[in-house]
């Protein structure tokens, strides 16, 4: 992993592959389980995979504490690397960051792929759009997260020290950025019209964290988006169906831009 200095943030970024740039923004949990998917992507794109500041035991400046900071950081990263025609892919919490980037600027971004994204509040004040993973029993969270948890979920009792520390710090960082308001930015829905870039909204058919009707609503709220369900997958379809997700992104990413 390379360290790229952006202001006073030392950002860890893994890069792999050649060709058109693809920036992948990861979600709050299960980063280690992404290896298969990221390997496929790296065979097709020049992939950049940053670890969000505070995640994976990384440094985070004290002042750096919101999804807005993350959005500007990644826009700065694109500037810093001089990238253009970027395919931006975000999963779950990372999809929220991708949306926050795009409402600010799509200058360097030509395609956006959102995978089981959260970050937008559609329902009323007594309605919960996004399952409260901190208030549900651990077993239920697992069932809601994966189509087949017995295959996809790691065995925590077998983690070594470094992995356990990495996961614990991912969870603390997710809470820092997303605890309140819970996993969304109250203003974001009103600015989604600014996501002026062709968008693919991918959704695991069995996602119990953010159900697919939320995804369809998100799709309808974006100016140029289409929706695609991934069968036999939950909240992280790229972990459970990596080929399907990578293929869908490739078809979408390589398609001609509508005139």
């Amino acid at each position: 992993m390379e360290r790229i200095q952006i202001g006073d943030v030392s950002l860890g970024v893994s890069t792999a592959g050649v060709g058109r740039p693809l920036l992948f923004l990861h979600g709050g949990d299960y980063f280690t389980q992404h290896q298969g998917f990221l390997h496929i992507l790296a065979g097709r794109w020049r992939v950049l995979i940053p670890r969000h500041p505070g995640f994976g035991g990384s440094e985070r400046p004290d002042w750096f504490r919101s999804v807005h900071d993350l959005a500007y950081l990644y826009l700065d990263l694109l500037d810093h690397q001089g990238l253009s025609d970027v395919v931006l892919v975000g999963s779950s919490f990372g999809g929220w960051l991708a949306l926050e980037m795009c409402i600010r600027s799509v200058e360097r971004i030509s395609r956006l792929a959102l995978i089981d994204t959260l970050g937008v509040k559609f329902g009323g004040r007594e309605q919960r759009d996004i399952a409260d993973i901190y208030a549900l029993p651990a077993d239920e969270v697992l069932q809601r997260t994966f189509f087949a948890p017995e295959r996809a979920a790691p065995d925590y009792s077998r983690l070594d020290d470094a992995e356990a520390v990495s996961i614990a710090s991912d969870r603390a960082a997710t809470a820092l950025y997303g605890w309140r308001p819970y996993m969304h930015d109250p203003g974001l829905r009103r600015w989604l019209h600014r996501v002026r870039v062709p968008t693919l909204v991918l959704w695991g058919q069995s996602d119990g964290i953010v159900p697919s009707d939320y995804g369809e609503r998100l799709c309808r709220s974006l100016p140029d988006a289409r929706f695609e369900l991934i069968p036999a997958a939950g909240h992280y379809p790229q972990i459970e169906q990596p080929e399907q997700v990578a293929d869908a992104i490739e078809r979408f990413g390589r398609a001609e831009v509508k005139p």
């Binding site: 035991g57 504490r65 901190y134 651990a138 009792s157 983690l159 520390v165 997710t174 809470a175 605890w179």
Partner: protein, 390 residues
Amino acid sequence: MKVWHFSEMAYHPAWPEVRDSYRVVIPNRLYDPKIGADLYHRYLDEWALCDELGINIMTNEHHATATCADSVCTIPMAILARETKKVRLLALGMPIGNRNDPIRVAEEYSMLDVISRGRLEMGFVKGVPFEISPANTNPADLMDRFWEAHDLILKAMTTHDGPFNWEGTHFHYRSVNVWPRPWQQPHPPIWMPVGSPGSAAEAAERGITIGVLNTGWVRTPPIFEAYRKRAAEASRPIMPERLAYMALIGVGNTREEGQRRADQILDYSRTSGVVAPQFMNPPGYASVAQSAQALRTSGAGFRAGRIQSRDGRAIDPRRMTVDDAIDAGLSFAGTPDDVFDQLRAFYDHVGGFGHLLMMGQGGLLSHEETVANLTLFSKAVLPRLAELGV
């Protein structure tokens, strides 16, 4: 040594209905306000009695729970500030990292200090992990918020020349001007409960009195030691008055009677940690190392194994006996001689402390039994505490 009587004002009538969580998710249809009113009044009567017995008063607060119906620690104190005349009043205390308005805390504490004519001791608490959900505060920066609130409250209580500006990380006011100002100058004594050597050291740096709860024979000495060490490094006087220890105390005319009282109080320990596991370790509340450990022992939460016997065995609090609790240093129980001897042994073991936080009521211990417990303690144990030399 100063002694403080503490009760959580438990709403025990709901306990038989509880299956797996006394907190957070327990519905308040299990609370009958008419029974609750009777309980509030009897607990307040017991604290009011302390004024005659020469035992100081301690309250606390918890939220969304049947184990502690005191959800606002300053409310019983407001009543007792007027009903009592002599003893000191310790609110231990206000969860300032979970409350959204530190200025309101400064106002409540200042009013209490004035009404009581300077008898308030003010506690600032981090709060147990299962307080995060009821407050919906971010666990990942809880202590950062705690210390900013602490600094703001103290500045608000000690500034006497009109409004000042506060635009911090977590709190924003452009005109802080607290009325009334406190009776005690520069402000009432500050307390903080701590459960680890690390937080004891942080308190020591600032000269804050620490209250150590449920840490027992094994975990208390390193906490007190960390406090004394950092106080020395910070060139602060090392005073036993800065150290407090909480014990569940049952005293009787016979050993059997004292132990029976302790056994009922011990229902506090048997219930208060029974919480649905997902609320035990909110992300970022504990250190990354502690959370990593909890992850591998999935479901147990990082609080598992906190109560230990003298020889280091883990004790399940739900099944703890009085003998277990005495062995673990959590309880002093029996005749007045038994209680004093157990207290002295513990005192010597941990290197001394200046305050005994006496849980003199807990669980189903009745009003009559509580009055007998407190009265006998005041007559037969309290006078002997001078023998400890503090």
